[in-house]
């Protein structure tokens, strides 16, 4: 370009304003990263599973909603949630579910689907495993 060799004129007010906003944004981002760094603790992941909602029945199937939350510090990968329905001490139905990612404070929701009414048996839903990224 022909004008690349020309001397650049002094910065205008508009340019300074942009620079001001830009450096504020960048400063805020860097500040937040440093804040995250400072508050980062070496806490191992703690995974809590809750069944907050009621079991729902539709077209002969039973839906058991669940919520997993990572209340610890570290992010985990491949969280495995398993559900087992026992009737008279025997496992009648089971299911498992994998959650890709669960970082600190993150919540994921899902549901298991059974053909039998889980309320008539003994239902366990638990987190079975995870791996660290």
């Amino acid at each position: 370009m022909s004008h690349s060799s020309q001397e650049r004129p002094t910065r205008s007010i508009a340019e300074w304003t942009t620079f001001g906003i830009a450096s504020t944004i960048l400063g805020a981002i860097a500040g937040l990263v440093i804040y995250a760094w400072a508050t980062e603790q070496d806490r191992p992941p703690v995974l809590t599973l809750e069944r907050r909602e009621q079991i729902r029945e539709a077209q002969g199937q039973y839906y058991v909603p669940f919520t997993v939350e990572n209340t610890g510090g570290e992010t985990v990968e491949s969280v495995q949630v398993v559900a087992e329905l026992r009737v008279n001490g025997q496992v009648e139905e089971s299911g498992d579910q994998q959650i890709d990612f669960l970082s600190d404070g993150e919540t994921e929701e899902g549901a298991f689907v059974f053909r039998r009414d889980p309320r008539r048996g003994e239902l366990t839903v638990r987190v079975a495993s995870y791996k660290l990224p």
Binding site: Q6, A14, I25, I34, E106
Partner: protein, 285 residues
Amino acid sequence: MKKGLAKQWRTELHDLLRGASGGFLFGVPLLYTMEVWWIGSSVGPVRMLLALVLTFAIIFFLNQTAGFRRDSAVHTTDALIDSVEAIAIGIVCAGFILILLQEITLQTPLHEALGKLIYEGMPFSLGVALANQFLRGDEGRFDQQSNSSRSKQLSATLSDISATLIGATIIAFNIAPTDEIPMLAAAVSGLSLLSMMIASLLISYCIVFASGFTNYQQRQQQRGIFQRPLSETIASYLVSLIAAMVMLLFFQKLEFGDPWQVWLNYSILLGLPATVGGAAGRLAI
């Protein structure tokens, strides 16, 4: 004096839009890569800072040659200031799309949002710094063609359509076979689809008309059948949507038995990067 001030602001706006357009051209394919979101989610603050510093260094060097401003940086301080701006533009644009794609929501934990923002902002910022280099083109190349007879109009329209189609297909080809579109579609709502459409149109308009890339003055003169900026933007969006849909069909992400909502969702989601590609295609002709 007042007039001069208005002109300064206009130049500045053009510079910023040019930077943002470059960012979108370079950054959008990586935005549709879930591995980058995951890396962003799990990366620690130290690495984020390192990534920022590294990006800054690269962009500083780029700004000494390319940059996004009309006048390229001569002094080191100018290049430094431009680098700060390039990164800020990159992060803002990447953040905008990440929010649209619902990869960053109010529920996203802070460090995860920061990681995604910084890692996705990197390619955007590089695009901003390369903006001039990308699509500088030779100004005045079209000067001889501007007399608009009927047949010329038609051929200009055809060449615009084919350029949009080629650009959109190249980008859509890269994204369609991957799992991101079905994944994003699962979380999408009516409102976010509408905002994606508006964003696609806006970005396309900015890249072609507002950023002052290449032959833009020439573009604003009417040549083809849909050469008014608004109608050209809408028409090329439709062409890009069709390109996106064809690519999704080609890679069997869409099948004829799927409900129409799936067709709509997938096409609009892939339509955004496809439109960016289409806009780049039209600039390249």
